[in-house]
Amino acid sequence: MTLASFSAASRVTAISRLTALRVPPTVAFAFAVIAIVIAWSLAPGLFTNHSPVVGVTAEKLLSPSAAHWFGTDHLGRDLYTRVVYGTASSVTSALIAVVIAAVAGGLIGLLAGFLGGWVDIVLARLVDVLLAIPNFLLAVIVVTAIGFDTTNAAIATGVSAVAVFARVMRSEVIKTRQAIFVEAAFLMGGSRWHILLRHVLPNASRSVLPLAVLQFGLSILVIASLAFLGYGDPPPASDWGLLISIGKDYLKWPWLVYAPAFVTIATVLSVNRISRWLRKTD
């Protein structure tokens, strides 16, 4: 969804964005980091010759070196390889979470903001309830109810973020609905649905894109936390959160924590930077 609305932006604005505003170096760097992460998740085999599952017992717990960039773990597996192979699951699950949150939250916000009246009151209470339960606790409860695995953790993370999207979408819709161009469209003979779909939705969702990008970063963190607590797929899966969780039992060999943590932080930081940039350029 993120990608779709991005490419839907007209060619003119895309070009003017690049030429007139110029991409700041930090943003360019952030895009580069994200490109690597995407490449890792699409074709992990291209980036490493080691196996993520089978280790060489003789080479266990080696420190980082030219042969093993991130060192090796307690079973002698190359940690860099484990991180690369864990990327797909970490990234996809965050994507699932964002799509669930944006679609469900967006719909709730759209209906509440546009229809108003009792629909708004009912939906606003629902959102209040979702907000009142601490985000992470809510994710934990949902994943407990539907079972422990990475996809379910993603769904739980998505559910816990619905309220954020609903709230932003609702306030954007209300703002847009009161915009003068909406009244003008009404005078031009536009029906309610025409105005909702053609005027209100496109304008209101402009601010949802940066939010979705931001939430993507947050979802990586939440899913990593769930994996850390053992609510995701069990080993030999190598989600980033799980890798850190395993590493915590071997703090004498700190790269087992620091390396996957570094990758996680770099990814989330890049995503946040891009989100901030999108918000500013809009």
Binding site: V12, T13, I180, F181, A184, A185, L187, M188, N203, R206
Partner: protein
């Protein structure tokens, strides 16, 4: 063109080349070769002028002319990405290059600042008194009670009725006019030598505008303060300043004594600016307007295009009922323009919304082109809107920013299902051509257009339905005068060619005089006076109408307030 104009200004400087130095008074403020840029974008280029003690000088220009930037550069209040080069000499001291610490003692104490928008110029969460104490701290007066007394005296001096109440108020509890008086009071309290006033009245109603300007002029003379006035309004500038500097795109177009620049402008730009000010050219569009006037004469006996009768509308605000429109009645013959004139709170906006059926009146009837408007649901009004369209005040908010111009203008045709797709294309192109826009704009989005172009798009969008009646809600008040002139011309020629009927809502009496046939003057929800434009303007009966007319800046300084005409030295940058 610019070079030639600078030559004019130069000749002025060199007029007395051999004058001995002591005879030439040292100006209070001298700006020399000032350029200001934001990032790599230069907004002010090589500007220079002089302002003598007790004199007043106006910087005139439209939006983007750099006039406010110059004021801020003099005050050293440019935003952090702004960079100024050149020389600003205040009272014999170069101040552009000195440190912030070195300049600060001048701020407030020697150079006072009156900002543009009084509503946002005081801290909303602190009382007026607390902020007044900051200005009072600049006086060498240790006793806080005496300082408060001085503040209260100054408030009385600037015409605030109840200084004590004002002192204890928060900004949101006062009106715009009162806030501007407060700000002027705070600026003059430390008795500065120079007062910089950045569009001090553009956010205020016309009658209040005049009172604030009178106040500034009086203070300037009583306290011997030099005034640097920034304004977009040539008539105001000519009325209030000894000297004028006309700017365009950050470059001086013309500079000199008010009398010469105003009455016989040398540069093409200043001439055009003067021609575009409605107050100075009441009969500019007489030929076009007369076509409608003929309809007015033949209208007797025929049914009017618009008939509003005894309409009243009350709103409930905070549990109190507020009469927005009280017993409103007027008729508009086909092919003519009726103006609704009033200040903010006069009920003119409510009148527009009632006329369109966007609000329902409590009582009374409204009919437009034979269709009843009052009492019908939005669904039923759809047919009326085919003949009745609205052009909004602000073209920056009335066009959906995500749509292209073509889609925007085409929208009413699509919604009402008029013609085949091919016919719609043609009508869109025709409507754009009628308002003077080229086809190359079709695929652009509103953000890529200027304000004037956007308002033309909005007019084209109303026009494309071929309506009988167009309601124009202050269609030019968000635009520069030169852009306004273009829009007015388009509106009048459309009326002449298509026989359109207009309801023109405005606060600008001078503009109304240029284009309307009949007028209703509104005050607090009621029509206080109505009739043909010439009649009302030449022979107003009601005191309110007289006050409104008196507040139109004429470009001629009031004899009573006329500054003692002294020779003034002008210099342009070189």
């Amino acid at each position: 063109m610019a070079a030639q104009d600078r030559l004019t200004a130069n000749t002025l400087t060199r007029a007395e080349p051999n004058a001995p130095v002591p005879l030439r008074p040292i100006p209070l403020l001298r700006v020399d070769g000032l350029s200001v840029s934001y990032g790599s974008h230069e907004v002010v280029t090589n500007v220079g002028f002089e302002l003598g003690r007790g004199e007043s000088l106006a910087l005139i220009g439209e939006s983007g002319s750099g006039k406010s930037t110059i004021a801020r550069a003099v005050l050293r209040l440019l935003p952090s990405n702004g960079r100024a080069t050149g020389r600003v000499v205040f009272d014999g001291q170069e101040v552009l290059g000195i440190s912030e610490r070195g300049f600060r003692p001048l701020r407030g104490r020697a150079i006072g600042f009156v900002p543009q928008d009084p509503a946002n110029s005081l801290n909303p969460v602190r009382t007026i008194g607390a902020q007044a104490q900051e200005a009072a701290a600049l006086l060498d007066e240790p006793d806080k009670r005496i300082r408060k007394q001085l503040v209260l005296e100054t408030f009385a001096e600037v015409g605030l009725d109840n200084p004590r109440r004002v002192y204890d108020s928060y900004p949101h509890q006062l009106s715009g006019g009162m806030l501007q008086r407060v700000l002027i009071g705070l600026a003059i309290l430390p008795r500065p030598a120079l007062l910089v006033a950045d569009e001090p009245t553009s956010a205020l109603d016309v009658t209040i505008q005049k009172r604030i300007l009178d106040l500034l002029t009086r203070l300037q003379h009583d306290l011997k303060i030099s005034l640097l006035l920034i304004t977009h309004d040539l008539a105001i500038a000519a009325e209030r300043a000894n000297a004028l500097v006309v700017l365009k795109d950050g470059v001086i177009q013309e500079a000199g004594r008010t009398a010469s620049v105003f009455s016989s402008p040398a540069s093409a730009y200043a001439r055009k600016l003067r021609a575009d000010v409605p107050a100075l050219n009441p009969d500019r569009y007489a030929a076009l307007r007369d076509i409608g006037s003929r309809f007015l004469k033949t209208a007797a006996g025929t049914a009017p295009k618009i008939a509003v009768s005894a309409v009243t509308k009350t709103f409930n605000v905070d549990g109190k009922s507020l009469v927005a429109v009280d017993d409103l009645s007027f008729t508009v013959p086909a092919g003519t323009t009726h103006a609704l004139v009033g200040e903010s709170g006069s009920g003119k906006t409510t009148a527009v919304r009632l006329l369109l059926g966007l609000e329902q009146p409590d009582s009374g009837t409204i009919s437009v082109a034979g269709e009843q408007i009052a009492g019908r649901s939005p669904g039923e009004l759809r047919s009326a809107w085919r003949h009745l369209q609205l052009v909004y005040q602000n073209p920056f908010t009335s066009l959906d920013p995500t749509w292209t111009i073509e889609r925007l203008v085409r929208e009413p045709l699509d919604r009402f299902g008029i013609g085949t797709p091919k016919e719609r294309d043609e009508r869109v192109r025709k409507a754009l051509a009628d308002v003077g826009l080229g086809e190359h704009l079709l695929s652009r989005k509103p953000a890529a257009l200027s304000g004037g172009q956007r308002q033309r798009v909005a007019i084209a969008r109303s026009l494309v339905l071929k309506p009988d009646v167009i309601v124009l809600d202050e269609p030019t008040s968000a635009l520069d005068v030169s852009v306004q002139a273009g829009i007015v011309e388009v509106l009048l020629s459309l009326q002449a060619n298509l026989g359109l009927t207009y309801v023109f809502v405005s606060h600008d009496l001078a503009l109304v005089r240029q284009l309307a046939h009949t007028v209703s003057v509104m005050h607090r929800g009621c029509i206080v006076e109505h009739g043909e434009v010439a009649e009302i303007f030449d022979n107003p009966q009601q005191p309110y109408t007289k006050a409104l007319l008196a507040s139109i800046p004429s470009g001629v300084a009031d004899a009573a307030q006329a500054p003692h005409a002294r020779p003034l030295l002008m210099a342009a940058a070189e």
